[in-house]
Symmetry: C2
């Protein structure tokens, strides 16, 4: 492969001149620039970004750690993060933690060794301590690590409130919330907080059943419903689910067991990702998290940190959610 | 951040010794190794992989260009490619071409500048000529570029044959195939070839309607059905769709318009990705492309090329498909 010396020779100029053209630095005559660019094109020269990264200590690579890049929510988030990062010339390295702390720790370490410019952290199985030694920019999705790291989140409390108030307005008297894992201090837990508070405020009976984060699949939630919820399901007239996959599994279980949705049981989901939007029977009532907006803010936050545009301020961003009325309420 | 000199000083050894420990090269006494490793741990030292990449001319990064990382087929493929690549210590850079030739070309160029070790090419809007100047390993999914580049594909011909023969065995007399774009010479076109040949062999009337690859969304296929297929739909008693999203859209259109599936119209899809597996009404009859196996073979093919394990042979891999019987036939 041609190097910078070959290009200089072909163009009849010095290596310094070629370097100036490449880095767009210092004065270069129009004619000279043209000669250099032609020589680069003729020789199929592409500047070695790795060498430049080393020189500038910048790789223009962002690591993004997600629980599962195939989950419809994260798959959509990755798409938008990549789209906006690409506009700013950054690339995205994808890492699947599969919600295993060892994998998450190994990826953090690997990304640090590879000198990524920053990390977008969407997988949360490690304790906050694990982040103390990290010496480069991190932005988290839906989790507060410390006031050193900005976070981007949807308004989880508002989401929980919207869902619960909707069920209560429709006349529900006994509500269930199927939550995510509550043991780690995640912002998504505020959905459960808002659920409880709204129920108390309106004097509505409620219960919470906790799901795990080891597994976000349809099969997992199907089993959860069969083993932990099925017997007591007739006790409730409304269920607020922490994601659309469990909402869909619950809808199917109810209708298969002769419980009419929404007449006897009202169901609200959470996410409104590509699966939910494509699903036509039923159209789920759900809370929409705008992945497009989230992706844009995650990208711009980490890039601003890297480029030191916000040296003195840590900007956390909370993105609005809304209720999408479907056929399950 | 601590560098190799700091580690050497702390451990009381030479830089060469630390380097030997890092690269596992040359004889190192057990005691010395322990001292160096302790010093690295104490100083939170992580070797600079970018510097090592430059020295070794290897980045351990693979580029993966897909039309849309949020499409359920590619999202699943990415997950498995990443999983297997990670076992071999490689990382995956994700690029969404959105099926735009300019974006695809820009990504090819960007990945080349960043000295990725190789590219897994799953987006195919560029002509074969665009690949002539590429000087590093590329493996393609479902496309033959030239005999310099290996491909990994599912057995598209067999898939088309299985789907069509299934419809004919069930008594269909007039078949439609909704294909992908046929203008580029893609291996997926063999599904249409097999469809036509099977129909001819059994003397069954057939037609083919071509979809575009600009858009793989439910909305696109919904409009395609309304604008190009709806009027003539009663002419057919079986449709072989080139993906599960169009199959689902067709099922919904038919049932909404009083056409009974499968009694009056039988539908076979293609892919059996996470959306299809999660969808319960209806369970689609479809052809399964095993993304797990495809991801493993794509990873191992490109890594073998990079590590020169198969210097003299280009290994193309064709992965088996199978018919999944659902409720739409």
């Amino acid at each position: 492969m041609a190097n910078i010396k070959d290009v200089a020779e072909r163009a009849g100029v010095s290596v310094t001149t070629v370097s100036r053209v490449l880095n767009n630095r210092g004065y270069i005559g129009k004619e000279t620039r043209k000669k250099v660019e032609e020589a680069m094109a003729e020789m199929n020269y592409s500047p070695n970004q790795i060498a430049r990264a080393l020189q500038k200590s910048q790789s223009y690579i962002l690591g993004m750690i997600v629980p599962d890049s195939n989950h419809p929510f994260f798959s959509e988030l990755i798409k938008y993060v990549e789209m906006y990062a690409n506009e700013k010339n950054y690339k995205i390295l994808i890492c699947n933690s599969l919600d295993q702390p060892e994998k998450e720790a190994r990826y953090l370490n690997m990304l640090s060794e590879n000198r990524v410019d920053g990390i977008i952290m969407c997988s949360h199985t490690l304790d906050v301590d694990a982040y103390k030694q990290v010496s480069f920019p991190i932005v988290t999705f839906d989790r507060i690590i410390s006031n050193q790291f900005p976070y981007v989140a949807c308004d989880n409390f508002r989401g929980g409130e919207l869902a619960t108030e909707h069920l209560i307005e429709l006349g529900c008297k006994s509500l269930l919330h199927i939550s995510g894992p509550l043991k780690l201090d995640l912002l998504a837990n505020r959905r459960a907080d808002a659920f409880k508070l709204s129920c108390m405020k309106h004097n509505v009976h409620y219960e919470v059943i906790e799901g795990s984060n080891d597994n976000l699949t349809f099969e997992y939630f199907n089993n959860l419903i069969k083993n932990k919820i099925s017997e007591n399901l007739p006790k409730y007239d409304g269920v607020f689910c922490s994601n659309d996959i469990v909402a869909y599994a619950l809808y199917l279980f109810a209708t298969e067991n002769g419980i009419k949705v929404p007449e006897q049981l009202k169901i609200v989901g959470y996410d409104y990702h590509s699966f939910t939007r494509m699903l036509q029977t039923p159209k789920l009532t759900t809370i929409s998290q705008p992945t497009n907006r989230l992706g844009k803010v995650l990208s711009s936050t980490i890039i601003n940190m890297i480029e030191n545009k916000d040296k003195d301020t840590i900007n956390n961003t909370v993105v609005d959610v809304k209720l999408i009325k479907g056929q399950t309420t």
